[in-house]
Symmetry: C2
Subunit: 367 residues, 2 copies
């Protein structure tokens, strides 16, 4: 087993970086020098609302697919989208959640073989490089590091780690991301609230808040959203909504109003219904743009559409996810909707496993 030999050598040669943030990595000081196993992999899903880190054992070549790997530990932290909370906060959140996961399963950084960090806000190679730099500061130099947009992990969570087909995420934010079998990729939306992600939870809620303001000042029709939202927020007048909105710039705080909008729509409110119908069109148009650009579906050909996020998961009478699929299948009858059984962070860990195995395979073939 050439790979295992290589791993042991690497383990001894670990050039352990000094803790960048003393408190976060203090737990390592009380642990034995090396755990002697084949090591662990970390999968992270950093969304706009929360960040999840999954730790799995590596167990190379004992399985041909990663989905039977056990989960050793799971840790959760807040938002790690640097566009939303800023770079310092995003970086600290990521470091803390990885430390928590490793500490929970009694591992330390010297046991880590690969990390796949899938985080929202990765929109450009420079974002990827900057975040890779953060990880390089944390881990020994032999650790394989992969940084992806969080949509990629969500796709992997529905396709057992295979990058093929399209994923649609609609939680606080929204993005559609797709891959062809030969590695071409494309995305649509995912540009945040300023740049037109109107199908997202934030988009839906911001439009509902706007509808309340417009009904109040005479620009829009009356809507049940007014009493429902004011009651939910404990406010007495629509004028107070402005102060409430700008008191805290968190996107997730606004997006948390989506269930109120769905309830009003289910109760027959015309304004709330229009907001949800518009959001369905926006979400479907993101998927259509990706499928067309990648030619994922030539006429009747089937392709997986992995659907992730609170906006799509709402199992209510007004089912946004179902409406989006109906809308897409009119253009692409081969769409195969998949609701993943595992969370995106597990998808990220499976990706780390796949990337790592491919690299090792390539190295073995070369040697």
């Amino acid at each position: 087993m050439k790979l295992e030999e290589k791993e042991e050598v690497t383990l001894d040669a670990v050039d352990m970086k000094r803790p960048r943030n003393g408190e976060i990595w203090d737990f390592e000081l009380d642990m034995p020098m090396a755990d002697g196993g084949a090591g662990v992999i970390l999968g992270l899903d950093g969304g706009t609302t929360s960040t999840v880190c999954i730790c799995m054992p590596l167990i190379p070549f004992s399985h041909s697919q990663p989905e039977s790997l056990p989960i050793l530990a799971r840790a959760v932290a807040g938002c790690s989208n640097h566009n939303s909370v800023g770079e310092t906060a995003a970086r600290e959140t990521l470091e803390q959640v990885m430390a928590d996961a490793l500490s929970k399963c009694g591992s330390k950084r010297s046991s880590v073989r690969a990390v796949c960090l899938a985080v929202s806000g990765v929109n450009h190679p420079t974002d990827q490089q900057r975040i890779l730099g953060w990880l390089r500061d944390i881990f020994p130099s032999n650790v394989r590091l992969y940084v992806q947009n969080d949509a990629v992990a969500a796709l992997a969570s529905g396709t057992m780690g295979k990058l093929h087909g399209c994923v649609l995420i609609a939680g606080t934010g929204t993005i559609a991301y797709g891959f062809t079998d030969d590695g071409k990729e494309a995305r649509a939306a995912g540009a945040g609230p300023v740049l037109g992600d109107w199908g997202s939870g934030y988009g839906i809620a911001a439009q509902a808040l706007t509808a309340v303001v417009k009904a109040h000042d005479g620009r829009g029709q009356d809507t049940m959203l007014t009493s429902s939202i004011l009651k939910t927020l404990g406010l007495s007048s629509a004028d107070e909504l402005i102060g409430w909105t700008y008191a805290d710039p968190s996107w997730a705080r606004i997006a948390a109003l989506v269930p109120v909008v769905v309830s009003c729509a289910e109760a027959g409110d015309e304004v709330a219904n229009k907001i949800l119908l518009d959001s369905v069109q926006e979400l479907a148009s993101s998927v259509k743009a990706v499928v067309e650009r990648l030619a994922l579906c030539d006429g009747k050909g089937a392709f997986p559409l992995v659907m992730v996020g609170g906006v799509l998961e709402a199992n209510r009478r007004w089912d946004i996810g179902k409406e989006v699929v109906n809308c897409i299948s009119k253009h692409f009858p081969g769409v195969l909707p998949i609701r993943p059984k595992v969370e995106p962070a597990v998808g990220a860990a499976w990706l780390a496993w796949n990337f790592f195995m491919k690299e090792c395979h390539r190295e073995i073939c070369r040697s």
Copy 2:
């Protein structure tokens, strides 16, 4: 001259507060004890882009209208909308710009008789009370303090200090505000970018940025905005727009792209034209909502519409302000558009003068 006697007494009895912020008010230490005049008034216009402070002499009863009062000093600072820059920064900006204006004309706080602070972000009586508290910390207790939404000063700048008719502001933000002769008031919009101010400079620019992202990812049609905006910002790809947008949350920075949108519309770009046409509809609907709620125009009756802000002032082929007036006059033929000859900060100073004179008149009648 009963009032002047009263003023002199008050001047001697000034309970000068200690400087809250030493550096800002240091200039007062080198000035003589009292200037002996009738005192000065301050008018402030705090918008989302900049804050202007005007200092005028009081000269009570020497004029029946304030518009012939000379301007003693003018000072400018940055944004003082607490919803945009936060409370601490807003407060410091206001204090600094008032100190600058007083220092420029050789007056100090003990000479001030009245301050009218018209600032964006005043949306609720609690905002007004909080900002009055800031001013009370700065000035002696005898100074008359008035806090208004910045739209009120803009209206006054076009009506010689009289609160009657409607004002439409469209700069970085937008708001419509109206008053009837008997003191009823109403507003529409002015709720900021999250809450649907789509006719504002920020709204126009954000929609243009969204159009570029949508054209890039396949959701929208191609537009000249792509090359024009990327060139203006020195970016090489639409992917970089996301990083640029969230690198700095300033609304004014986004709104500065309006001239690019107007240029593209003038060059015949369909997408840019649609954005401007939508903005005209949004702005007109704000005015219509105010005029209807106040019944400012019963059929053919005339009413002033004061128009203020960069979006409306653009004297280009694509004249947004002219289109808004055309749109409004279809519903209210009595609309009398006014482009003020003085800036809103002067309107705020005139308001301070009017408020002060009314209060003194009331006190004299009572005594």
